[in-house]
C-alpha cells in the first residue's frame, strides 16, 4: 500500500472534490481517496500491486481536472503531514447557527440584533430577517458559544424560541409520577420547561439542543424509574404556527380592549370638545376618561412602553419608541390637565388621541400578525409535507416507527395512498408516485425496481418496498427546506438602502419632531395666527405644537421600509419552491434582471443525455429485419450505442435472441454468429475491411451524420442489409424553452464537448443562435468568461455535475436536477424538475420578485416622504381651512402602510408563472 498526495488544478467546490475523489476511487486498487479543493490536492491510498500513480492521474485527468506535473505532484507520505493538519484545525471552528427570535416588532429590531451580534467577538457574520423572525450567525465556536449568542439576543430584550419535543412516557401510575419526572427534567441544564401529562403519557419539553441532546433527556426519565421514547414529531412547523397563533391571540385581545375603551373615550372627549349633544354627560367626565385611558395605556399600550424600556436599556431604539413618545405625551398632558389647573388653554384633554393611537397601532399589529403568517406559508407547507411515521421491515415483519428513527438501508414498505417517508430506491413493486409537492409536476411518475423515490411524495397506485438511501437532514425535502430558509434569510443588495434608511429612521423622525415643535412653538403659532385661523378659540401654543410633533412621530413608519424587501423575497422564494424552482437569496434576483444571454449545456440539459434509436434504413429486407439483426449483434455489448439499438428494437416489439461468438472490434464495431451466419454492425471501415462496397450508401450515411446522428452499417454474411442511426435527442420542451427565452429577448447559446457537426445539428433543432462546440469540461468556465468579457450577462444552465465551474463562473448558475447536494452547491438557482422550461419561469419569477421589491420600496418611501411633511403641517399655509392631520388618523395611516406592503406582496402569490 502507498499513500500519495496529488496536486490538482481546477477544483472549485465541494462538487469538484467529489468528482475527483470518485475518479480516483474508480481505479481498481485505490482504497481511499479524498480531494480537498481548498488545498488543490487529493490524498489517496492504493495497492501498488494493482495500480500505479500514473493510472490514478489519468483517471483524474479524464474527469476533467488538470493533474500538476511530476515536480509538483510528488508522492508524499501522508503520515508526516497528519500532525500539521491537526494543528491547522485546532484553532478554527467556524459554525453556523440559526435562532428563531421572538418579540421583534419592526425592521429596526432586526437591525439592532444584527448590529449587536456582529459586534460580538468571534462572530464572522450575522444576518437577521425580520419577516422570518430568524437570525443566522456564522461564528467561531472556539471564541464564542451558541448560548452566548443567545444571551446577546435576550439582553437586547428579545426572546429565542427553543426547540420543543414530546417524549412518550411509560410506567407512570399517578399524577405524582408526572411531577417526579418534571422535577428531574427541570433540574437539568438546557431544559427550559417540562410539562408531563399523566393521562396522555407524554412529556412536552422545551430545550436547548446545543446544551442537551434528546437522548440525555430520555436517560434522565429512565434514571427516575420510567420509560421514555421520542414521540412522533419534532414540532418545528407546529412551533412556529403556535408562536404565530399566540401573537395573533394576544394582539386580538389587545385590539378588543382598545376598541371597547377607545369608542367611549373618543365620544366623551370629542363630544365635550365639539359639543355633541347626543353623548351622555357621564362620558365627558374627566376622571372617567382618565380611568378608561389608563386601562388602554396599561393593557394594549403596555407593549410599546415595555419595548421602549428594553430597547433604551441596551441603547437601541425602535418603532415602540415613536409610539410610546407620541401616546405618552398625549396621555401625560391630559392627566396634567385633569388634575392640575394649568389655565384656560389647558382645559382640553387628549385621552381620545392616546386611546385612538393605541387602537389603530394595535389594529395594524394584529393585521400584520395575520398576514405575516401567510408570507411564510410556503416553507410551512414544505415542513408539513414530511411523513410522520414509516413502516419498515424488521426480521421479516412490518413495524411502524417514527420517521426520525428510519436509518439508511432500512427496507421501507409503502402502501397506495401513503406518503413515502424518506428518500430511497425501489427494490420491489410497481407504482405511480405523485411528486407534485416537490417537483411541481402534476402527472404521477411511474416507479419500478431501481427507480429513485423522493421522501414526502405520495404513493398512488401500488404497494412498494424500497431501501432508504437518505434520511433525516439528508433527504431532498430537508435540503430544499434548508435552502429556501437560507435564501429567505439572505439579503438582496437593494435592501442595503432600505437598511440604511430604516437604521437611521427613528433618529431622523425624532429630529424632525423636535424641529417641528420648535417651528410651530416659536414661529408658526404666531405667524399663522393659529387661534384665529384654526378656529379653536383659546389654544395653547405648546399643545398645538405638541400635537403636530406627536403626529410626526406617529405617522412615520420604518416598518414599511424594513419589510419591503425581505417580505417580497420570502414570498418569491416560497412561490419558487412551490413550483420546483429554488432561488438562493436576494442577490440572484437582482442579477437575473441584468441577464441577456442564456447558455445551455447540451448533454443532459437540452438533450436526454443518452442515445436513442432514431433511424432504420433497410437495404435488404424490411426495417424490422435490419433492426433485429443489429439488436442481436449488440445484445452482448455494454456500449451505450448498442444499448440504444437494443432498447429501440424492444420498443418495436422485436424478439432479440442471443447470439454466439460475440466479438467487439475496438474502434470498428461488433461481430457475432447467429444461426450460423456472421452478423456485423459498425463503421464504414469495418465493412470495407470485410470486403463490402459501401459507396452506394455514402450519401445516406453523410446525411444522417450531418443531422448529428451516429450511423452504423449492418451486414449479414458480408452483405450490407441496412443502416441504423442513433442520437442523443432533444428533450421534450427544449425547443419551446429556447423559443420562450428568445421571446423574452435573450440570446441563447449552447455549450458542448461534442464535435461541430453534432452540436450544430442539435442547435438547429432547438433553434439556438450560438454554438460553442468541442469545449472540454474545464474550458466551459473560460468560454463563459469570454462571453462576459464581451459585456454579456450570462446565465449558465447545466445539470450541475460536470458544469460546476461554468455554473460558478456565470452571473447566474442554473442547475437542472433533482435537487441533489451537488447541484444545490454549484448553482444559484436550482430547478428540481428536469424541465428546461423552468429556466424561463425562474427568470420570470426573479423579475416578478424584484419588481415587487421595487414597488414595496416605492410605496414605503412614498408614504413616509408624503406623510411626514403633511404631518409637519406643510399644507397649513396653503389650505383653507388650514389642514393638519389628526394624530389618530396618522396612526391609522401608519398601521395601514405596513399592512399595504404586506398585502401588495401577497398579491404575488396569485400570479401564475405561465409558460
Amino acid at each position: 500500500m502507498e499513500d500519495v498526495i496529488i496536486k490538482i488544478k481546477g477544483m472549485m467546490c465541494a462538487h469538484c472534490e467529489k468528482t475527483v475523489s470518485q475518479a480516483a476511487l474508480s481505479v481498481r486498487g485505490v482504497t481511499k481517496a479524498r480531494a480537498d479543493f481548498n488545498k488543490g490536492e487529493l490524498k489517496a491510498s492504493f495497492d501498488t500491486s494493482a495500480t500505479d500513480l500514473e493510472t490514478i492521474k489519468k483517471a483524474i485527468a479524464a474527469s476533467g481536472y488538470e493533474v500538476m506535473d511530476e515536480g509538483e505532484a510528488c508522492p508524499l507520505p501522508v503520515k508526516k503531514l497528519k500532525p500539521e493538519i491537526k494543528e491547522v484545525h485546532k484553532g478554527t471552528g467556524m459554525n453556523k447557527a440559526s435562532f428563531k427570535i421572538t418579540g421583534m416588532t419592526c425592521a429596526s429590531c432586526a437591525a439592532n440584533i444584527e448590529k449587536a451580534l456582529n459586534k460580538k467577538d468571534g462572530v464572522k457574520n450575522a444576518s437577521v430577517n425580520f419577516s422570518f423572525e430568524k437570525a443566522s450567525v456564522e461564528y467561531d465556536s472556539g471564541i464564542v458559544s451558541q448560548s452566548e449568542l443567545e444571551e446577546v439576543i435576550i439582553s437586547l430584550g428579545y426572546g429565542v424560541a427553543k426547540s420543543e419535543i414530546v417524549l412518550k412516557i411509560g410506567g407512570m401510575h399517578c399524577a405524582s409520577c408526572a411531577l417526579n419526572i418534571e422535577t428531574a427534567l427541570r433540574k437539568e441544564n438546557g431544559i427550559v420547561s417540562a410539562t408531563v401529562s399523566f393521562p396522555l403519557e407524554q412529556a412536552r419539553i422545551m430545550y436547548d439542543p446545543e446544551l442537551i441532546p434528546v437522548q440525555d433527556m430520555i436517560k434522565i426519565v429512565k434514571s427516575v424509574g420510567y420509560t421514555a421514547s421520542e414521540k412522533l414529531e419534532k414540532f418545528e412547523a407546529d412551533r412556529e404556527q403556535r408562536a404565530r397563533e399566540a401573537e395573533i391571540k394576544t394582539q386580538r385581545l389587545n385590539l378588543i380592549i382598545a376598541v371597547t375603551l377607545a369608542i367611549p373615550i373618543s365620544l366623551g372627549d370629542m363630544g365635550r370638545n365639539l359639543g355633541w349633544a347626543f353623548v351622555p354627560g357621564f362620558l365627558m367626565n374627566d376622571y372617567l376618561l382618565f380611568i378608561l385611558a389608563t386601562i388602554v395605556m396599561l393593557f394594549p399600550g403596555r407593549q410599546f412602553f415595555e419595548g421602549t424600556y428594553k430597547g433604551l436599556r441596551h441603547g437601541v431604539t425602535d418603532m415602540n419608541l415613536l409610539i410610546a413618545t407620541g401616546t405618552g405625551a398625549a396621555y401625560i398632558i391630559s392627566v396634567a390637565a385633569t388634575f392640575l389647573d394649568l389655565g384656560a388653554a389647558y382645559r382640553h384633554t387628549y385621552y381620545d388621541t392616546a386611546a385612538l393611537l393605541i387602537m389603530f397601532i394595535v389594529l395594524g399589529r394584529y393585521l400584520e400578525a395575520l398576514t405575516k403568517g401567510r408570507t411564510s406559508e410556503a416553507i410551512r407547507k414544505l415542513m408539513g409535507l414530511a411523513a410522520k411515521t414509516a413502516r419498515i421491515v424488521v426480521d421479516g415483519e412490518e413495524k411502524e416507527i417514527p420517521v426520525e428513527d428510519v436509518k439508511v438501508n432500512d427496507i421501507v414498505v409503502v402502501r397506495p395512498g401513503e406518503k413515502i417517508p424518506v428518500d430511497g430506491g425501489v427494490i420491489e413493486g410497481l407504482t405511480a408516485v405523485d411528486e407534485s409537492m416537490i417537483t411541481g409536476e402534476s402527472i404521477p411518475v411511474e416507479k419500478t425496481v431501481g427507480a429513485e423515490l423522493i421522501g414526502a411524495t405520495m404513493n398512488k397506485t401500488g404497494m412498494i418496498k424500497f431501501r432508504a438511501t437518505k434520511v433525516g437532514a439528508d433527504t431532498a425535502l430537508a435540503q430544499i427546506i434548508k435552502l429556501v430558509e437560507d435564501a429567505q434569510t439572505k439579503k438582496a443588495p437593494i435592501q442595503k438602502l432600505a437598511d440604511i434608511v430604516a437604521g437611521h429612521f427613528i433618529l431622523a423622525v425624532h429630529v424632525l419632531a423636535l424641529l417641528t415643535f420648535f417651528f410651530w412653538f416659536f414661529i408658526g403659532f404666531e405667524y399663522f395666527d393659529v387661534p384665529v385661523t384654526f378656529g379653536m378659540g383659546t389654544m395653547s401654543p405648546f399643545l398645538f405644537s405638541l400635537l403636530i410633533s406627536i403626529t410626526v412621530l406617529i405617522i412615520s413608519c420604518p416598518c414599511a421600509v424594513g419589510l419591503a424587501t425581505p417580505i417580497a423575497i420570502m414570498v418569491g422564494t416560497g412561490k419558487g419552491a412551490e413550483n420546483g424552482i429554488l432561488i438562493k437569496g436576494g442577490e440572484v434576483l437582482e442579477k437575473a434582471q441584468k441577464l441577456d444571454t442564456v447558455v445551455f449545456d447540451k448533454t443532459g440539459t437540452l438533450t436526454k443525455g443518452e442515445p436513442e434509436l432514431t433511424d432504420v434504413i433497410a437495404v435488404k429486407g424490411t426495417e424490422n429485419e435490419v433492426l433485429r439483426l443489429a439488436a442481436i449483434a449488440e445484445k452482448g455489448s455494454e456500449h451505450p450505442l448498442g444499448e440504444a439499438i437494443l432498447k429501440g428494437a424492444k420498443a418495436r416489439g422485436l424478439d432479440v435472441p442471443d447470439a454466439q461468438e460475440f466479438r467487439a472490434i475496438p474502434g470498428r464495431g461488433v461481430e457475432v454468429k447467429y444461426s450460423g451466419r456472421k452478423v456485423m454492425i459498425g463503421t464504414r471501415k469495418l465493412m470495407i475491411e470485410n470486403g463490402m462496397d459501401i459507396v452506394p450508401l455514402n450519401g445516406k450515411l453523410e446525411l444522417l451524420e450531418y443531422e448529428g446522428k451516429t450511423a452504423m452499417l449492418v451486414s449479414c454474411d458480408n452483405e450490407i442489409t441496412g443502416i441504423v442511426a442513433v442520437a442523443d435527442t432533444l428533450k421534450v420542451g427544449s425547443k419551446e424553452a429556447v423559443d420562450q427565452l428568445h421571446t423574452m429577448g435573450f440570446s441563447v447559446a449552447m455549450i458542448t464537448g461534442d464535435n461541430r457537426r453534432t452540436a450544430d445539428a442539435v442547435a438547429k433543432q432547438a433553434g439556438i443562435d450560438k454554438v460553442l462546440s468541442e469545449v472540454l469540461p474545464e474550458e466551459k468556465a473560460s468560454e463563459i468568461k469570454k462571453l462576459q468579457i464581451e459585456g454579456r450577462k450570462v446565465a449558465m444552465v447545466g445539470d450541475g455535475i460536470n458544469d460546476a465551474p461554468a455554473l460558478m463562473q456565470s452571473d447566474v448558475g442554473i442547475a437542472i436536477g433533482s435537487g441533489t447536494d451537488v447541484a444545490i452547491e454549484s448553482a444559484q438557482i436550482v430547478l428540481i424538475k428536469n424541465d428546461v422550461n423552468d429556466v424561463a419561469k425562474a427568470i420570470r419569477l426573479s423579475k416578478l420578485t424584484l419588481g415587487k421589491i421595487k414597488q414595496n420600496l416605492f410605496w414605503a418611501f412614498f408614504y413616509n416622504s408624503v406623510g411626514i411633511p403633511i404631518a409637519m403641517g406643510i399644507l397649513y399655509p396653503f389650505t383653507n381651512p388650514p389642514y393638519l392631520i389628526n394624530p389618530a388618523l396618522a396612526a391609522a395611516a401608519m398601521a395601514a402602510s405596513s399592512v399595504t406592503v404586506t398585502m401588495n406582496t401577497l398579491l404575488m402569490k396569485r400570479i401564475k408563472l405561465k409558460r
Binding site: 441603547g315 413618545t325 389655565g343 388653554a345 423636535l514 415643535f517 412653538f521 416659536f522 404666531e526 405638541l546
Partner: protein
C-alpha cells in the same frame, strides 16, 4: 471602553440641557413679547417635552461618536 456608557449619558445630558436652555431663552422672549398667547405653563411643559426628545436624539448619536473617539 468600559466608561463609554457613562460618557454617553453625560454627553447626552449636556446636549439636552443646552437645547432646553436654548428653548427656555427663546420661550422667555415669547412670554415677554406675546403674554396673551404664551404662558409659563407652555414654557415649562415645552421644556420637559424638548428635554425628552433631545435626550432620545442625543442618546442615539453620542455613543457612536464616543466609541470612535475612544478607539483613536
Amino acid at each position: 471602553m468600559e466608561r463609554k456608557p457613562l460618557y454617553s449619558v453625560l454627553a447626552s445630558l449636556a446636549t439636552s440641557i443646552c437645547i432646553v436652555i436654548l428653548f427656555y431663552v427663546l420661550a422667555l422672549q415669547k412670554l415677554g413679547s406675546n403674554p396673551e398667547a404664551y404662558i409659563p405653563v407652555d414654557m415649562y411643559a415645552g421644556m420637559v417635552y424638548v428635554f425628552v426628545l433631545s435626550m432620545i436624539v442625543s442618546a442615539s448619536i453620542w455613543p457612536g461618536i464616543i466609541e470612535k473617539i475612544m478607539k483613536r
